[in-house]
Point group: C2
Chain length 383, copies 2
Amino acid sequence: MLVMTPGPIAVDHRVIAAMNRPAITHQSRAFGEVLDHVLAMLKDLFRTTSWVTVLPGSGRLGLEAALVSVVERGDRTVHLVNGTFASWAVEIARRAGAEPTVVEGPWGGPVDLRAVAQAVERVRPKVVAMVHSETSTGARYDLQEVAEICRRHDALFLVDVISSVGCMPFAMDAWEVDLAVCTSNKGLGSLIGLSLVAVSPRAYEAMDRRRTVCQSYALDLKRWKDQFFGKPFPRAYPVVPSTHLVYALQEACRQVLEEGLEARWARHARHAEATRRAVEAAGLELFPRRDLAGNCVTAVRVPEGLDEGEIVRGMEDQGVLISGSMAGPTKGKLFRLSHQGVQASEEMLIPTLAALERTLRGLGYRVAPGTMVAAFEEALAEA
Amino acid sequence: MLVMTPGPIAVDHRVIAAMNRPAITHQSRAFGEVLDHVLAMLKDLFRTTSWVTVLPGSGRLGLEAALVSVVERGDRTVHLVNGTFASWAVEIARRAGAEPTVVEGPWGGPVDLRAVAQAVERVRPKVVAMVHSETSTGARYDLQEVAEICRRHDALFLVDVISSVGCMPFAMDAWEVDLAVCTSNKGLGSLIGLSLVAVSPRAYEAMDRRRTVCQSYALDLKRWKDQFFGKPFPRAYPVVPSTHLVYALQEACRQVLEEGLEARWARHARHAEATRRAVEAAGLELFPRRDLAGNCVTAVRVPEGLDEGEIVRGMEDQGVLISGSMAGPTKGKLFRLSHQGVQASEEMLIPTLAALERTLRGLGYRVAPGTMVAAFEEALAEA
């Protein structure tokens, strides 16, 4: 089975093999040294000199940790929402007792920077939250202009970089991001099960200045700085991550650095563009506005007369797992091919595109045999 | 290195080997069927007909999920505190805006059932929380009398069964427990990284009756019942657990059921008693009151004139990882040998006891060579 879903993504066999070790205590020096190595590599990958926390969890749990660590009841937040993942942060903020203001844009479409600036000026939020690479629509958003708005109004800038780190240029410190929420799976190419949250000195200061204690004990990121980072062995873990998933992450980070971060970004850009060209050659339409289409996931509009579920099931019958739409405004309107990590390769994308051609033809859509694969290969040859 | 710490514990190589599979999507039918199998086995192991939720996380995260799913701001809770792990639930409740009442007893000593009954009668709490097997002191507590108090006063009964499930008799439904919080590591013998929370129909009703939405989005257990359990594929995961840790847990649960739950409880009782006898033969003192000493961990008082840290480091020099005390009233007073899962075996306990004899002698404690191992073997032969 070819796993071409946007998360969990397929991972390299070396990452799986890295877990083939006996269980160990998280408090042992041997494991502590592995984790320290991982934390150092993550700093390089996030392009930050600050700390990156490793929690058990998925993206959602990391997002909650980032938000509740800085937000108190009654605090105001502003959320840029152009997709499903952005809407999760709104729900988290609301449940935490914050007062979220949503600047909604068309899903897969652009962010209205003027509306964002106006909202931030009016609301004076503690936190502005957005998604870098919106996996639900395949769009990617520039962060720097929003960061500039945040600085001007002294708001913390929280970014969901869940699929972007490792796939697309991201530079936490240079871009003045305060809370960057990521996961071990997706762009970094490891297994699902860890939340990675990078916290800027500004965000730590905001945690220090809280009037009330964080609502969560397990997800209070301040505790990592107070109890864990830079402390001698044995250190108290604010919450214990899976030792074996840390082994897997160590191997995945090593592979990213072996390939080189810039080279990896370039590979993703090349394969994403070739996938878009293949899709367009078949007369299909990208879901996001073309200039916003990101390098992690290609989201394709379901052609007139076809059914999203039939396409996804048809692909599964051909041995390829892809994803349909998520809940919300895109429901039923798109299907998604991922090209993150090992998926961004000819070995995985060519059979995927060939299976898509067969699936679509089987459902009555007219596309000449070889169209998508030819366009893909041609685009790669040009790049 | 022999891992004899109380968590993470050493695990069987079959559990590690079960993860030697390619990555897969959590939403695929193939993975869904594995998870359903795990959930069915967990029902057997918790002795419940209700649902068991599998979250990413450790014990602490599961405890927080259980508490914040039922507790609202201003709700009252009662906590039986005789050790470190019990005190975590107090901190979680306080941060969630609840008003916790603590019934504290001597650490390693008994619960004062009269004081508990009085506190519950006075406070009328929504939740009463206690720990079944207190890993920090090596004591275990009976649940049934406290359950009876909860029923009488219509309080939910939350029990930390983090080390007990798989090691000691526990029967969620028969004992009228409402929220049972466990972890994949410890008694169940799998790797660290998953929180397992069993929820009774009464606790689900309390979630339905909340006046306010749960403060947490990721940890709201009600969402599992509303969105996941018993639903057709593909199901929406309220929060995604690690697929590979679920593979490991599947193998660990299979092993528990192969051995048989009662046989496993008996094995733990036998090896725990033999370990206690070995310790006593060397003139050492158990930390908990002897009749409360549990079958998961043996906590030993640091002999007069010796230093806890030196004993733990001395054991590490002999190739055996054990644990010292945790923060709080036991600090510096005890060291802990675990005998959970594969650790409850002659293969692992005999070299551990032999190393302990050598370590203690090296630190000037007088114990004749072979004393502990002989007492251990004699006790096992009698059992």
